[in-house]
C-alpha cells in the first residue's frame, strides 16, 4: 500500500522521514569513520610491531583464553606476530586499496554513464555492449587472467578492481542521465545555447551526484570483499604487506589448531562491509526515500 499512497514529490518528503534518514546515516557512518581512524592511527597506538616475529610466542590464543597473553589481545599467528596489530595495520592497506579501486572505477564509470546517456546513439550502443561484456566476465576469473599476465602488484590489483567496478556506475548513471536529459530544464539549457559539455558537467553531474555517492559507498564494500578474495587466493597483496584478505590466507592453514588467526580478520571484513552496506542503504533512503534498489 505504501507504494500507492506515497507522496509524489519525494525530494521534499516529510521532514520526519528525512531526519530519521540522517540519523541512520550518522549511526552507521560514525562507527565506520572510527574504525577507519583507529586503523590510520595504528602507528601511534601502543601496539606490538605487526611484522615482529617471535617463534616462542607463536600461536598464542586471545588474552581471555587460558594460555593467552595480555600483550597479545587477539592472540598471535604461526610466526608469533600480533593479530590485533596486524588487523589494524592491515586495515590501512585494505582501506587504501578499497578507496583507490573504488575511485579508479567510479570516475570513468560515471563519465561513461553520463556521456552514453546524454549523447545516446552509437556511443551509447558501444558503452552498453561493454557494460554487458563486463558483467559477463566472472570477476575473479578476469582478475586471474590479468594478474597471470601482469604479475602481482598493487597497481595490477587496483586495475582489476577498476575493471570490476566501472560497469555498475556506467549502468546506473546512464539510466539516470537518460531520464534527466528529457527534463524540461535540459531542453531549456540547450535552447539557451549552453554547450553540451557544460550541460553534462555543470548540470547533469550535480544532479546525479547523490546516486554516485550511494554507489560509491556500496561499492567500497564490494571492493573490500573482492580484494580479500583475491588476496586470499594469493593474487592480491604480497607479503610483507598486510591486508585482511592476505591475513585470512595465513589463517586458513592454522584453522584446525588456531582459529583466531582466521576468525578476527574475517570478522573485521564482515563488520566493515556490513557497516558500509547499511550506510549506503541509509544514504539512499535519506537522499530519496522512494528510490528503488539497483
Amino acid at each position: 500500500m505504501t507504494a500507492v499512497l506515497a507522496p509524489r514529490r519525494p525530494a521534499s518528503g516529510r521532514p520526519a522521514t528525512r531526519a530519521r534518514g540522517a540519523g541512520a546515516v550518522l549511526a552507521f557512518g560514525v562507527p565506520l569513520a572510527l574504525i577507519g581512524a583507529v586503523c590510520l592511527a595504528a602507528p601511534l597506538l601502543p601496539l606490538p610491531d605487526p611484522a615482529a616475529q617471535s617463534l616462542s610466542a607463536a600461536l598464542r590464543p586471545p588474552a581471555w583464553l587460558s594460555g593467552g597473553d595480555a600483550a597479545h589481545l587477539l592472540g598471535t599467528d604461526h610466526l608469533g606476530r600480533d593479530v590485533l596489530a596486524r588487523i589494524l595495520y592491515g586495515g590501512r592497506l585494505t582501506f587504501l586499496i578499497a578507496v583507490a579501486g573504488m575511485l579508479a572505477g567510479a570516475v570513468p564509470g560515471t563519465l561513461l554513464g553520463l556521456v552514453s546517456g546524454f549523447y545516446r546513439g552509437t556511443v551509447d550502443a558501444v558503452v552498453s555492449r561493454f557494460v554487458e561484456a563486463q558483467l559477463a566476465l566472472p570477476f575473479i576469473l578476469l582478475a586471474i587472467a590479468v594478474i597471470a599476465g601482469r604479475g602481482r602488484s598493487l597497481s595490477a590489483l587496483v586495475l582489476v578492481l577498476a575493471l570490476f567496478g566501472w560497469a555498475q556506475y556506467a549502468r546506473v548513471i546512464r539510466a539516470e542521465t537518460l531520464s534527466l536529459r528529457e527534463r524540461p530544464f535540459v531542453l531549456g539549457l540547450r535552447c539557451a545555447g549552453v554547450p553540451a559539455p557544460r550541460i553534462l558537467l555543470a548540470h547533469m553531474l550535480p544532479n546525479v551526484a547523490g546516486t554516485v555517492l550511494v554507489l560509491v559507498t556500496l561499492q567500497i564494500g564490494t571492493v573490500i570483499l573482492a580484494e580479500s578474495a583475491l588476496s586470499f587466493l594469493g593474487l592480491g597483496v604480497v607479503s610483507p604487506q598486510i591486508s585482511w584478505g592476505a591475513m585470512l590466507a595465513d589463517g586458513r592453514d592454522q584453522l584446525t589448531h588456531a582459529w583466531w588467526v582466521a576468525a578476527f580478520p574475517g570478522l573485521a571484513i564482515t563488520t566493515v562491509v556490513l557497516l558500509v552496506n547499511l550506510l549506503g542503504d541509509a544514504m539512499r533512503s535519506w537522499l530519496d526515500p522512494k528510490k528503488r534498489r539497483y
Partner: protein
C-alpha cells in the same frame, strides 16, 4: 506586414519519429508527428496552436526551437533557416517556456547562478539589464534570486523561466503549454504577463496549448492541429465563432461552460453537432 516584422516562417514542415527503433531491435515503424504544417508569426503577435494530446504540437515546437528533428520542409527564424549548422546567436533567437515550471529549472542551481551562467555564455546579449530589473519585468521580487527551484512556487518558477528566456532577447518566445500545470488564478497572472511582454518587448509568441479557453484569451490567430496536420486556421475570434471543421467544433464543445448552441453566443449560429459525439460530453 513588412518583411522585417516576419519572425517565424514554418513552411510545409514534416517531423517523422522513429517508433521503437532501439539498437539491434529496429522495427522500422514511423510516426509522422507533424505532417506538412505551415504557419507564420510576426513581431508583436501571439499565434496559437491547439490540438488534442498527441496531435504533434510539441514535435512542432521542438523543430522550431532547433531541438528536434526536421524531416521535411523549412523553419525560418528572422530570415535564417533552422538547421543543424546554426551559430549560437542564431540558435538562441528562439527561447522556450515549457509545461512543468519546476522541471524547467535545474534543481541544484539558484536563480542567480543560473542567470550568471547565461550571462557568461552570452556576454554580448545579456548586458542590457540587471538581474533585479529582469525579475521586476516578470513581476518577481529580487529576494528570489538566492533561492533554489524547490523553494519557489509553481507560478514563480514559471516567471523565472520566462525571465531566463527574456534575458537572451529572443525574437520568438515559444510557449508549450506554459500554464497547464498551474492553477487557474496563477494561470491568469502568467497569461497577463505574456500579453504585457508582447506589447512592451514587441515579442513574437508561438503559444501551444490544448486549452481552448486560454488560447482564446491571448491569441491573435489560431491553428488547429489534428494528427500532425493543421485542419483549420484563422483569426481567433473567427475560428471560435464559426468553426469550419468538425474537429474544431468538437474541441470547442469540450470547453467547460460553453455549449455549441449557446444562446448567448453573439454569432448565434447553430452548429450541427450532437452532444453524443462530444468527447467528454456536456458538463
Amino acid at each position: 506586414m513588412t518583411r522585417e516584422r516576419r519572425i517565424l516562417d514554418v513552411d510545409d514542415l514534416t517531423v517523422v519519429h522513429q517508433a521503437g527503433g532501439r539498437w539491434g531491435n529496429r522495427r522500422g515503424d514511423t510516426v509522422a508527428a507533424v505532417d506538412g504544417v505551415s504557419l507564420t508569426v510576426d513581431a508583436g503577435e501571439i499565434i496559437g496552436v491547439v490540438g488534442e494530446s498527441g496531435s504533434g504540437k510539441t514535435s512542432l515546437a521542438m523543430a522550431v526551437a532547433g531541438l528536434g528533428r526536421i524531416s521535411g520542409g523549412t523553419v525560418t527564424v528572422s530570415g535564417v533557416q533552422v538547421s543543424g549548422r546554426l551559430s549560437r546567436a542564431e540558435r538562441t533567437r528562439v527561447q522556450v517556456i515549457l509545461q512543468d515550471p519546476h522541471g524547467s529549472l535545474d534543481p541544484r542551481q539558484t536563480v542567480r547562478r543560473g542567470l550568471r551562467e547565461l550571462r557568461r555564455i552570452h556576454p554580448e546579449r545579456t548586458g542590457w539589464t540587471t538581474d533585479e530589473e529582469l525579475l521586476a519585468k516578470v513581476g518577481l521580487n529580487a529576494d528570489l534570486l538566492d533561492r533554489l527551484p524547490h523553494q519557489v512556487s509553481g507560478g514563480q518558477a514559471q516567471r523565472v523561466a520566462i525571465a531566463r528566456a527574456l534575458l537572451l532577447r529572443p525574437a520568438l518566445l515559444l510557449a508549450d503549454e506554459p500554464t497547464s500545470a498551474l492553477d487557474v488564478s496563477v494561470q491568469a497572472q502568467i497569461l497577463r504577463l505574456l500579453l504585457g511582454l508582447r506589447r512592451s518587448e514587441d515579442l513574437a509568441i508561438l503559444f501551444i496549448s490544448h486549452d481552448l479557453a486560454v488560447v482564446r484569451a491571448v491569441c491573435d490567430r489560431v491553428h488547429v492541429m489534428l494528427r500532425g496536420r493543421v485542419v483549420e486556421h484563422g483569426p481567433t475570434a473567427e475560428v471560435f465563432e464559426r468553426p469550419a471543421h468538425e474537429y474544431t467544433r468538437r474541441l470547442l464543445a469540450a470547453i467547460p461552460g460553453r455549449r455549441p448552441l449557446d444562446p448567448a453566443d453573439p454569432a448565434g449560429r447553430p452548429v450541427q453537432v450532437t452532444t453524443a459525439s462530444v468527447p467528454g460530453g456536456e458538463p
